[in-house]
């Protein structure tokens, strides 16, 4: 139904292509976010090229799986994925953040087909997903609603309002993916190291979702095949909502951006752009140039 071939090499090449488009778009716009989009790439690749039942030629297909990027500041990652999946031309990514563009700094469902909800104010996406999942049950809809949140986003109280209500209604047609990239925009300073501390240490985040009654699983968020399998497992109805903790690295794929909070929303210089695209070049040379 997805029309995509989830072969390992193909998916990895897609992820690399998405990263190139993300970096190029932000550099071109001279604005936007990079760390969060780059950490989300494998999860989005697994969703859009494997898991989601969607029809790019019919974005409003009523029985489609829903996806909400609740961490809306990672919009460019979603746009890259939608473009590569055929929702709109890849060339349109160059309009990211431009005046009159459909590719707004945060996703706007009123202008861009393929978005199941607008987002950008942290925490709201999961609540909307709870509403959609509940609506699907009321309407007899047979699809799954996926929502991606960030670990920093889990600071928002509304996330836990939603977690509580989803458990209350035992919404087993709802999957939240936590992009646990271990950094938020600024966060708390670690006095000992001087570095920024992760939003949630150790197993705190996993434990919290479990404590709210969710079925929790974990995955290496950059192993695209493992993510694919974990998402397929999470979408199987089991009487409660499912949370998949994706362990990721903020800025993944570009050495000098990885695990560095400053790249949450920094624009690469020309030199940095060249280096990033070198690092993200396709070794097989099968996925276009840089």
């Amino acid at each position: 139904m997805t029309g995509a071939d989830p072969g390992t090499g193909e998916l990895q090449a897609t992820a690399r292509a998405a990263r190139r488009e993300i970096v190029k778009a932000v550099a071109h716009a001279k604005g936007g976010h990079l760390g969060g989009p780059l950490s989300a790439v494998e999860v989005l690749t697994a969703l859009y090229f494997g898991v989601l039942h969607i029809r790019p030629e019919e974005p409003d297909w009523p029985d489609r799986d829903r996806f909400i990027l609740s961490k809306g500041h990672s919009a460019i990652a979603l746009y890259a994925m939608l473009a590569l999946r055929g929702f709109f031309p890849v060339a349109e990514l160059r309009t990211f953040d431009a005046i009159d563009s459909r590719l707004q700094g945060h996703p706007d469902m009123t202008v861009l087909p393929g978005l199941d909800m607008s987002s950008g104010s942290l925490g709201l996406g999961l609540a909307a997903g709870v509403g959609i999942a509940l609506g699907a049950r009321l309407a007899g809809g047979d699809f799954t609603t996926f929502v991606m949140v960030g670990d920093g986003e889990c600071n928002e109280g509304i996330v836990w309002e939603s977690a509580h209500v989803a458990d209350r209604y035992a919404l087993d047609n709802l999957v939240v993916i936590v992009d646990q990239n271990q950094l938020q925009q600024f966060g708390w300073r670690d006095a000992a190291t001087g570095r920024r501390r992760p939003p949630y240490a150790g197993t705190q985040l996993r434990d919290r979702w479990a404590a709210f009654g969710w079925r929790v699983s974990e995955v290496d968020g950059h192993d695209v095949l493992a993510v694919l399998a974990a998402l397929e497992a999470a979408r199987q109805p089991a009487g409660k909502p499912a949370a998949l903790i994706a362990h990721t690295v903020k800025g993944k794929g570009v050495s000098f951006m990885e695990d560095e909070y400053l790249w949450h929303s920094r624009v690469p210089t020309d030199d940095e752009l060249r280096q990033a695209l070198d690092e993200l070049a396709d070794p097989a040379g099968t996925r276009g140039g840089t």
């Binding site: 706007d108 469902m109 009123t110 199941d116 909800m117 607008s118 987002s119 950008g120 104010s121 925490g123 709201l124 996406g125 609540a127 909307a128 997903g129 709870v130 509403g131 959609i132 999942a133 509940l134 609506g135 699907a136 009321l138 309407a139 809809g141 109280g157 509304i158 309002e161 939603s162 509580h164 209500v165 209350r168």
Partner: protein, 300 residues
């Protein structure tokens, strides 16, 4: 003569929506855990499968309603005005108003008379805030007759809407021959000595006051504005032209409410003095209804 007693608008809301839902399968009610106070309980009894308890978690409730609207439902998110407008404003702004989704926000316990709850629950700026949101329809009916028609009219217009509902019983102002029209003001009384403009249940009090004035030989026009947004600009300008000045009276803050809307409009279209009566830049308190009305409406 005082107006005849009528029903509380919260009860009218529950009954009217339950009736509408019999013919419209899209209608759902979300409840922020105050259904026994807002009239949502009446809907739950009539349509238990279409009533969603969201708990006292209003940000989540409003965003859930947005999600439900994308599924083709017409959700009515019900709570007190303070929580619907102040607590949940971000959800309302970003997921209801911006995407222009068909969610109806029901603010119960509007104004001063909120059952001895005091300043935390008395929300005087819900009109000011909600009318500042693009695409948001803002409606405040005066009595049971108008509320029934206004709820049906709001249901008939796709898109975001805010409907202000009050707790206490309201006198009946409009007879069975009344026709509510969305976006239109209505002259409920004619006079040449002054023009009073009001909205919501407050209009019933303004009307009664106008009758008292009439017995003293002062005849005033009372223009009732049930739709604050979009404002009936023609009616307001006509009223200003007739009397040369207007007095607005509302159970709302004079900052940004109906008075603010009227002053903005007349400032551009037909500048005349506008005297705004209402809550004067202060918070409320708990107390008996008659004492509250007396204290907070005693404007000089």
């Amino acid at each position: 003569m005082p107006l005849p007693a009528g029903a509380a608008l919260r009860q009218v809301f529950g009954e009217t929506l339950a009736e509408l839902a019999r013919h419209d399968p899209r209608i759902l009610v979300l409840d922020g855990d105050v259904g026994s106070s807002t009239g949502a309980a009446i809907f739950e009894t009539a349509h238990p499968q279409r009533y969603i308890q969201a708990g006292p978690a209003e940000q989540n409730m409003m965003a859930m309603a947005a999600g439900l609207a994308t599924m083709g439902f017409q959700p009515y998110a019900t709570t007190f005005t303070c929580f619907a407008v102040a607590r949940a404003l971000d959800s309302v702004r970003v997921l209801i108003a911006q995407p222009r989704l068909d969610v109806k926000i029901i603010g119960g316990y509007a104004g001063l008379l909120t059952g001895m709850t005091g300043k935390t629950h008395q929300m005087f700026d819900d009109i000011a805030i909600m009318r500042s949101l693009p695409y948001m329809l803002v409606v405040a009916p005066a009595d049971e007759t108008e509320a029934r028609q206004a709820i049906a009219a709001v249901a008939g217009v796709p898109g975001p809407a805010y409907l202000q509902i009050t707790r206490e019983t309201a006198p009946v102002l409009f007879g069975s021959d009344y026709t509510f029209r969305l976006g239109r003001a209505v002259t409920v009384r004619d006079g040449t000595d002054a023009t009073l403009i009001s909205t919501g249940v407050q209009t019933t009090r303004v009307y009664e006051a106008a009758e008292i004035l009439s017995r003293r030989g002062v005849e005033v026009t009372v223009l009732h504005v049930p739709t604050i947004k979009p404002l009936d600009g023609d009616a307001v300008v006509a009223a200003a032209q007739a009397s040369g000045y207007v007095i607005t009276i509302e159970e709302q803050s004079v900052i940004g409410g109906l008075g603010g809307a009227v002053a903005e409009l007349l400032g551009e279209k037909f500048p005349v003095p506008v005297k705004r009566l209402g809550i004067r830049d202060c918070f409320g308190e708990s107390g008996p209804n008659d004492r509250l009305l007396d204290k907070y409406r005693s404007d000089g």
